[in-house]
């Protein structure tokens, strides 16, 4: 991991209060793509067929907001943003597990797909993987 890194060479220990470095940058990039696609999807669903399944579409919008908050907070330095990140990623984990389970056992309640339906199967299960990787990364970059 070293050798090619040119930034922050002189000041290693004090720089720990950031998450937007190394693998964190990949994580933020993937979160950004999900924020974008979840927002677009929720916007499209609410604009065209909200009345068909209001709950599922409100959930889509909620997921989009969670992804946006996670993306922004992970990119920002400092303790406060760390806490925001933690809250967002935990919300996301609970969301994907609860919605995933409900959609599995009660498909009638969720006739319309959300990002989290069937544990994010429509998105290659990345929505399930993302909060786990997010928590691991947050743990590694915990502010001292």
């Amino acid at each position: 991991m070293t050798g090619t890194e040119t930034n922050s060479a002189g000041q290693q220990p004090k720089q720990k209060d950031t998450r937007n470095t190394g693998p964190g940058r990949l994580l933020i990039a993937v979160y950004a793509v999900f924020a974008l696609s979840a927002t677009a999807r929720a916007g499209y669903q609410i604009a065209t067929k909200f009345a068909e399944a209001p709950l599922a579409h409100i959930l889509s919008a909620f997921a989009a907001v969670v992804y946006i908050i996670a993306t922004v907070s992970l990119a920002k330095p400092g303790r406060t943003w760390f806490k925001v990140s933690l809250a967002a990623v935990l919300t996301e984990l609970v969301g994907v597990l609860v919605v995933g389970a409900i959609s599995l056992f009660d498909p009638v309640a969720f006739p319309h797909d959300t990002v989290w339906s069937l544990f994010g199967r429509g998105y290659g299960f990345v929505p399930l993987l993302l909060p786990i990787l997010g928590l691991l990364w947050l743990n590694k970059r915990r502010p001292s």
Partner: protein, 117 residues
Amino acid sequence: MDGYFYALLIVGLVSTILCLVAGLMKKAPNDPTIYSVLAVEVVLLVYLVGSIVRVALGEQIAGEPWEFWGYMLTALIIPLGAVYWAILERTRWSNFVLAAVGVTVLVMGARMNQIWY
């Protein structure tokens, strides 16, 4: 699936594999990986111009036109955003960011094809 999709499929996959291998070899983004992502952008630009011409010549998009153009504009932003994000911090991880572009755009291209036909 039309030629635009297959162009995205090939260029996208080559770009993803190239960036993935470079990342696994612990290399920072360099000319080959960055240009491979820019090649994806070029294919998208050709797709954009081709689609504008087809609509101008009277061809109808089967699905929602604004959904198609929404995908198109978003897809056009992704490679540029990823290159910008990658060169801000040039580590091996940025190559994985670049690797995500090819597959993401290719999935979007498949969806755009579905909307069009």
